[in-house]
């Protein structure tokens, strides 16, 4: 049931580092994070790694496993051959802090820039009323566990540090889509999506949807519909005329 696996784990900090090789026992049913924990407990007590729930619900233990963005807690060892070397490296889009831990403050900065949710008034009896069918569309995006794997894989920012200023990344484009579809929200963020969060940078290659551990259809259900509505708004001649003669607010 048990076997010895070869793990190569990137160790280092902002100044540099390299892959270190470990031989470590693996038991039946284990995931990559179990093996990383065993490394910590037996061979590398100070190996830096983030994790919390170990159940695929919190999105903390993101890393690149054999080059692919994954949650370590949801990557079963049985997906690798026993003689296959497993290589773990930190998320490439973000600056390394130490070992597998990266500085993800980019994401928290972008989150803070999004104009907050603003609801319409409640009904007279103090309730909000919404139909299930209407809440289901934005609910898909609220499944997001903020693991940042979509941000990591997105080629707009993965190897283009310069684009980070102008592009919020797939996670926040679906946040904008979610707010746009929210039955109670009254703020129009379509212009902001284009001008401040870089919606136009996305050329819908769908890499983000492929790595999403929650199976969210970021591109098809979030980003493309948002692009369509932005186009409606910006290039509809009547809307354009309205905005010019001041009968319709620009945002």
């Amino acid at each position: 049931m048990s076997y010895d696996a070869t793990f190569r784990v990137w160790r280092g900090d902002a100044a540099g580092g390299d892959l270190q090789t470990f031989t470590v026992p693996v038991n039946e049913g284990e995931v990559v994070l179990d093996v990383v924990h065993r490394l910590q407990a037996t061979q590398a007590g100070d190996l830096a790694v983030r994790w919390n729930c170990k159940a695929g619900k919190c999105g903390s233990c993101s890393a690149e496993v054999n080059g692919r963005p994954r949650l370590m807690c949801m990557t079963r060892m049985s997906t690798f051959g026993e003689d296959e070397t497993v290589t773990i490296t930190p998320l490439r889009t973000f600056p390394v802090v130490r070992d597998l831990v990266t500085d993800v403050s980019f994401n928290y900065d972008k989150a803070a820039q999004i104009p907050p949710f603003t609801p319409r008034a409640r009904d007279a009896d103090g309730n909000h009323r919404m139909q299930q069918v209407d809440v289901e569309r934005p609910q898909e995006f609220r499944k997001c566990i903020e693991c940042w794997l979509c941000q990591d894989t997105c080629h707009v920012i993965r190897d283009h540090e310069d684009n980070k200023r102008a592009f919020a990344g797939p996670r926040f484009l679906i946040r904008l889509a979610e707010l746009d579809m929210h039955p109670l929200d009254v703020v129009d963020r379509k212009h902001a999506a284009q001008d401040e969060f870089g919606l136009g940078y996305c050329n819908i290659t769908k890499c983000c949807s492929e790595v999403c551990p929650e199976g969210i259809h970021l591109t098809d259900n979030g980003i493309i519909p948002l692009k369509e509505r932005v186009v409606d708004r910006r290039y509809d001649p009547l809307t354009w005329l309205g905005s010019k003669i001041g009968r319709r607010p620009r945002r």
């Binding site: 039946e28 919390n52 170990k54 619900k57 909000h128 609910q139 566990i145 929210h182």
Partner: protein, 609 residues
């Protein structure tokens, strides 16, 4: 000493549901507020809550109201709950849920567009507001986004190691000697550098203690820091003997043992079966709940659609009852191949319904155990899930016995008595988080002259934090943690006896020695071994509280089952156990009479079931 310093009115320790709700309340009351949390914002343990938020909104059943919810909560806690907390909780939960919608939460709906409510163990009516089986994620994201929108300062990946107290915190109405909270001391996980916050009010919202147990649904953060910090600052803990073992954790494969399987599986129609295929829960209905529990499978099955004329299935008894029953079945040799029992929803509900109602469970079993829950039964068994005990607080303002110290959520005690009902945790976080935040802001407002943080205390806290680096050749912290987890699992687990708990206390004493001598490798930058070394003293202190209180309470009640005292006892029904720290650092226990419920509330229990 290099030290980063900050000044606030209110510092909230912990960024789960209670901490964020407290911070929002304190900020809105005008206090300069900071949140300090060990993980990134949005990763707190609240995110793992699945089933829902209990609130008598009466959207599904007009008969529901706060009195019924209050009654269910007290009975679920075997009447040991602080009646005032249970009352406030039942009364205020609906408003706390509604305001989440004003902040963007999207709950599942009823056909007429209101918040949908689902069935759960121990609740007479369907009353859990929910989002599929990821309600905790919705709660944390909503509060997180609100916190960000309000611009509240958040210190992420930052661990508090000491609460600072002192005299003359500018207080007129404090205890005679004027000792109160003056701030907190901690370190940044990323850099290992120290940081101190000067603040007249500190709200503890640090969650639970489950990481002291081997099989647990809790994350690494649940090391009992808040419980331990409160004790060290001079506060008291109540009800520490009561630890909830959730009846349904995963049991296989070994690496996922303990991961939670939501009670919603049973609320939505799932049943428990032993290896012979029997619905064994019918054999474990206690007299206390007999009048309100179905006697036959037919009646139980009819209840899902007609609650007026049928009684609740025994699978939906409170968690302590179900966990004990599963434990007994496995011990009697009627367990599954991997030492659990079967939880079957596949044969009872259509596959589409299961995927729609329980998407995370479907995903979790598919990915981690290669089990399709729409086609086959799950294997489940008890897992350490929640501590009912916690900081003893005033029910109305969540103030601990130390002026300026407040506690809310799992770290606070009293609300749930000897056993918490499912769904009552998320509502607890919201109701008492808000109350704690408001009271903390109010407390700070009266304190214009802020006591400076004494240099000696800061230097001492820094020295203690760095001690593991000073020692060489000592034991590694991971080994000590594993031994503690094994001890608590084997000796202070779901079924307890006096000799075993005495043995546990001996082992804890020996582990304390080992912790005092362990050493860590590497340097201060993001070093998990060092972080664990600093968490271990908290874990040991809290484990000692649990073992001492459990040894003292010679009866069985709720989340405390004694093999050598198997029944409830009338005298213990009127008694709480309170832990404090003796001058020599050991845990002292005192017996305290249970607060008396006023007659107008006591009447509720005389009405027919």
């Amino acid at each position: 000493m290099e030290l980063e310093r900050h000044e606030y009115d209110v510092v909230v320790v912990g960024a789960g549901g209670a901490g964020l709700r407290a911070a929002i309340a304190a900020h809105e009351a005008g206090a300069r507020t900071a949140v300090v949390c060990k993980s990134l914002l949005g990763k707190a343990h609240t995110v793992m809550a699945e089933g829902g938020i209990a609130a008598a909104m009466a959207n599904a059943y007009p008969e529901d109201n706060w009195r019924v919810h209050f009654r269910d909560t007290m009975r679920g806690g075997k009447m040991l709950n602080h009646w005032r907390m249970a009352q406030l909780h039942a009364q205020e939960a609906p408003d706390r849920v509604r305001e989440l919608e004003d902040w963007g939460a999207l709950f599942d709906r009823t056909p007429d567009g209101l918040i949908s409510q689902r069935d759960f163990g121990g609740h007479r009516y369907a009353r859990l507001a929910h989002v599929g089986d990821r309600t905790g994620l919705e709660l944390i994201r909503t509060l997180q986004q609100r916190t960000v929108a309000l611009g509240i300062d958040v210190y992420m990946e930052c661990t508090v190691t000491r609460l600072l107290t002192g005299r003359g915190a500018g207080a007129a109405d404090d205890a005679a000697d004027g000792v109160g909270v003056t701030g907190a001391f901690g370190y940044w996980r990323e850099s290992g550098r120290f940081v101190a916050w000067q603040a007249p009010s500190v709200v503890l919202a640090t969650g639970g203690i489950g990481k002291s147990y081997k099989v647990t649904s809790n994350s690494w953060e649940y090391t009992g820091d808040g419980h331990s910090l409160a004790l060290q600052a001079g506060a008291t803990l109540v009800n520490m003997e009561f630890v909830q073992f959730h009846p349904t954790g995963m049991v296989w494969p070994p690496s996922v043992r303990g991961i939670l399987v939501t009670e919603s599986v049973r609320g939505d129609g799932g049943v428990l079966k032993n290896s012979a295929g029997n619905r064994f829960m019918f054999d474990y209905i206690p007299d206390f709940f007999r009048k309100e529990t179905a006697e036959t499978e037919d009646e139980a099955d009819r209840w899902y659609d007609d609650k007026k004329n049928n009684r609740r299935p025994p699978e939906l008894l409170p968690r302590d009852e179900v966990a004990r029953a599963i434990n007994s079945e496995v011990k009697a040799g009627r367990g599954t191949p991997h030492g659990g029992v079967f939880l079957d929803i596949a044969s009872r509900r259509p596959a589409d319904y299961i995927r729609k109602r329980l998407p995370s469970m479907y995903h979790q079993f598919k990915e981690l155990a290669e089990v399709d829950i729409t086609a086959e039964a799950m294997e489940v068994g008890p897992t350490c899930h929640y501590v009912m005990g916690g900081v003893e607080v005033d029910p109305d303002d969540e103030a601990a016995r130390v002026p300026g110290l407040f506690a809310a959520g799992e770290v606070a005690g009293g609300m749930h008595g000897s056993n918490r009902l499912g769904g009552n945790s998320l509502s607890d976080l919201l109701v008492f988080g808000r109350r704690a935040g408001l009271a903390a802001a109010e407390h700070a407002r009266g304190r214009v002259d802020r006591a400076p943080l004494p240099d000696e205390a800061l230097a001492d806290a820094a020295r203690a934090a760095l001690a593991p680096f000073e020692r060489e050749g000592g034991e590694n912290p991971y080994t000590v943690q594993q031994d503690l987890q094994q001890t608590m699992h084997d000796l202070v687990g779901i079924i307890r006896t006096a000799p075993e708990m005495e043995q546990a206390l001996e082992r804890i004493a020996a582990l304390k020695e080992r912790v005092a001598n362990l050493s860590v490798e590497g340097h201060r930058q993001y070093n998990p071994g060092w972080h664990l070394a600093l968490d271990l003293p908290h874990m040991l202190r809290v484990s000692e509280c649990i073992a001492r209180a459990a040894l003292e309470r010679q009866e069985s009640r709720g989340g405390h089952t004694r093999d050598d005292h198997p029944t409830p006892d009338a005298e213990w029904a009127r008694t709480n156990l309170v832990c404090s720290l003796a001058p020599d650092g050991s845990v002292a226990l005192t017996r305290q009479p249970l607060p008396q419920m006023p007659p107008e509330l006591a009447e509720i229990f005389e009405e027919s079931a």
